[in-house]
């Protein structure tokens, strides 16, 4: 049969955000894919010319709602490096507690979307039901469900009381229990495996070569996680990168599922070791020079490059988000996939288009 070109997106039931793929199929098997972006490009990087370094914290939080906290954390790390600001140890811990809560709710959101993509509606609802408990923690501790807005240059502007810490631990116990109840379905169920095993295979070499990051990379067996670099309080916490060897959509789902459990453990460690004292230092003056900071977002490595000239506005801010790095990997994994499985394979990198386009 002659090749047929099929437009996938920008509006597609499986995509929460607009992404266009021009897919060439032969006998309903993908042979080539071309991406087209730009549907939600907002030029947020350029706002550094109009907003001062403190206002920019709120701007970078809006690069992506789902991982807003980690965007702000990464940006603040870069500014703090330039201004030689030592963040109080308590702020380091609070930042990672909120960051890991973000990872949990992001992964649970994605697990639900994946279940929805392969038509398992009740599993989708179970995942989102569990996620609500995490959202409740974020709302109770920060005043907002998604954009928690806790980070500032110099620390955090919210506190966790001992009572809140106890309540968070109790709630996470419920989250863990409910998650383990659906684990059997997500990991062992025949229909889940039927729709995800062997779909969108990305070998270890292809994943590394294409610059993939996060669960997309670790789902291909590469044990790399920026948290290992020990930024913030991670150097004092015990964890190992979660990896799965097979490189298919099932592997990537398993990595994310296990990472939710890992995040619960990291929050427990963070709360048990939470130091007393200040959680914010006063920052005076304006930054000068260049800085690069990296963190691990739910979708993988996030990088900020910042250039400042000593004025209140930055000269340049460049954001490399994880989905941007995972798109070449996605383009590699799609050829050979049945057209009917394309939505699952595309979703398996957890694409965040507002992050990608900024």
């Amino acid at each position: 049969m002659a090749p047929t070109v099929i437009p996938f997106g920008p509006q597609h039931p499986v995509l929460p955000e607009p992404l266009h793929l021009q897919i060439t199929v032969v006998d309903e098997v993908v042979s080539e894919v071309l991406p087209k972006l730009g549907f939600v490009h907002r030029g947020l990087e350029n706002l550094v010319l109009k907003r001062d370094i403190h206002q920019m914290v709120q701007v970078v939080e809006r690069v992506c709602g789902i991982c807003s906290c980690i965007h702000a954390h990464t940006y603040c790390m870069a500014i703090e490096e330039l201004m030689d600001v030592q963040v109080p140890p308590r702020a380091d811990y609070l930042r990672i507690i909120w960051g890991e809560l973000h990872r949990m709710h992001s992964h649970l959101l994605w697990l639900g979307l994946l279940a929805d993509a392969f038509g398992f509606e009740s599993l989708f609802m179970q995942c989102w039901k569990i996620r609500e408990k995490v959202m409740d923690i974020q709302e109770a501790t920060s005043g907002n469900r998604v954009i928690v807005s806790v980070n500032v240059v110099g620390g955090v502007r919210r506190e966790l009381t001992p009572e809140q810490c106890t309540w968070i631990l109790e709630t996470l116990e419920e989250v863990e229990k409910e998650l383990l109840e659906i684990k059997q379905v997500f990991i062992d169920d025949f229909s889940v495996q039927k729709r995800t095993r062997g779909v969108g295979i990305l070998s270890r070499e292809e994943a590394y070569e294409s610059g993939a990051v996060g669960p997309t990379l670790r789902g291909s067996g590469v044990a790399q996680d920026v948290r290992q670099s020990g930024y913030g309080a991670y150097s004092e916490l015990d964890f190992e990168p979660v990896t799965e060897p097979d490189g298919d959509s099932y592997s990537r789902a398993k990595v994310r599922f296990r990472e939710v459990l890992q995040s619960i453990d990291l929050v427990r460690q963070g709360i048990s070791r939470l130091p007393q004292g200040e959680s914010r230092v006063k920052v005076k003056g304006w930054p000068e020079g260049e800085a690069i900071s990296r963190t691990e977002q739910p979708r993988g490595e996030l990088m900020y490059y910042i250039k400042a000239d000593g004025s209140k506005h930055l000269e340049r801010m460049r954001i490399r988000t994880p989905t941007f790095a995972n798109i070449p990997g996605m383009l590699k994994m799609l050829p050979g996939v049945d057209l009917a499985n394309v939505p699952v394979a595309v979703l398996s990198i957890d694409p965040c288009i507002s992050c990608t386009e900024r």
Partner: protein, 124 residues
């Protein structure tokens, strides 16, 4: 932290990184007024290597997409944002990767974009 290298050294340095097993993290670009600076960020085992070249406005930087295929996305993004044209770009969206065809100004640069006619099939 960011090493400034000569433009003529770029390809050799990038090949070196590739042969040593470094991953291309991304590229950044900065309009410094006279030049556009292109910064190349690499990583291996969480150790970053960064180097930069400067290219005067109006001149075309060389693409590294033949060495690192994943560079084509970021190079196309830079073309959109800075109104430049990379030579040897493996897949060239000619300034309309993010932006629509009717856009006449590069958002990050005072220069205007001059659209080029496509000379390769399928690259329009």
């Amino acid at each position: 932290m960011i090493e400034r290298i000569k433009r003529s050294e770029l390809k050799n340095r990038v090949w070196e990184m590739k042969n040593m097993g470094y991953r291309l993290v991304t590229m950044s670009s900065v309009d410094t007024g006279e030049d556009i600076e292109y910064i190349y960020h690499f990583d291996k085992d969480l150790n970053m290597v960064n180097f930069a070249i400067s290219v005067p406005h109006g001149e075309s930087p060389e693409s590294i997409s033949e060495i690192y295929g994943s560079a084509l996305l970021v190079e196309n993004e830079i073309q959109d944002h800075f109104g430049v044209s990379f030579t040897g770009l493996a897949l060239d969206f000619k300034g309309s990767f993010f932006l629509e065809d009717e856009v006449q100004k590069a958002p990050f640069c005072a220069m205007s974009i001059k659209r080029q006619e496509s000379n390769a099939e399928g690259n329009e």
